[in-house]
């Protein structure tokens, strides 16, 4: 596609439920990143994929968070047993391989946990 797409754009869930957030990167981009942005704050790195492997998961805040990527394309971020502090915008970005390559961001998924 023309850009990074994410779905859903908005998700409201009840505390304790599981949610899945999807990211479709730009075609041909082998690197994919997940970030979290709390209201009025900067972005926090969550996880990075190179192909289907995740060499850096250091930003995942707890074992309730997991992510996978298949076909060197779509990625899913799963949050189990959601808590109110998980409320944030979750942003996905993709880039070509190589640390110098610019990351292009998707529109984000706004998650609200009631």
């Amino acid at each position: 596609g023309a850009g990074v797409s994410q779905s859903p754009s908005n998700k409201v869930t009840e505390k304790g439920k599981d949610v899945e957030l999807r990211c479709d990167p730009i075609s041909g981009h082998t690197a994919l990143y997940w970030y979290r942005q709390r209201l009025g704050q900067g972005l926090e790195f969550l996880i990075y994929f190179q192909g289907n492997s995740a060499p850096d998961k250091s930003g995942l805040p707890s074992d309730r968070f997991s992510a996978e990527r298949t076909g060197e394309s779509v990625s899913t971020l799963t949050i189990q047993r959601t808590q109110q502090e998980d409320s944030a915008v979750y942003l996905c970005a993709s880039s070509f391989t190589g640390a110098y390559n610019e990351q292009f961001f998707g529109p984000g998924t706004r998650l609200t946990v009631l």
């Binding site: 990143y33 900067g42 942003l91 990351q103 984000g108």
Partner: protein
Amino acid sequence: ELKVEQNPLFLSMQEGKNYTIYCNYSTTSDRLYWYRQDPGKSLESLFVLLSNGAVKQEGRLMASLDTKARLSTLHITAAVHDLSATYFCAVAPFGNEKLTFGTGTRLTIIP
């Protein structure tokens, strides 16, 4: 741990004026990025700075990088209203894919 600080956090300025946003980071890095974010929107890439002394300009915005001082600046010339947004710098350590973002500078241009 890499820390990235921006200042000011908030900036109101009149149209036509010049100003500079500063981005300091705590460890050596080989690249720095500037992004723009409009309210409720995602991030738009503005500049990628890859070497000491790099300077890039686009319209009324100019970014520079001093790797020895671990400092980047984003200079705004003759501000116009449509530059109102939040501006983020982001830094990655050598050979590392992970970006660490600054807290952002919320810029408001007043007519």
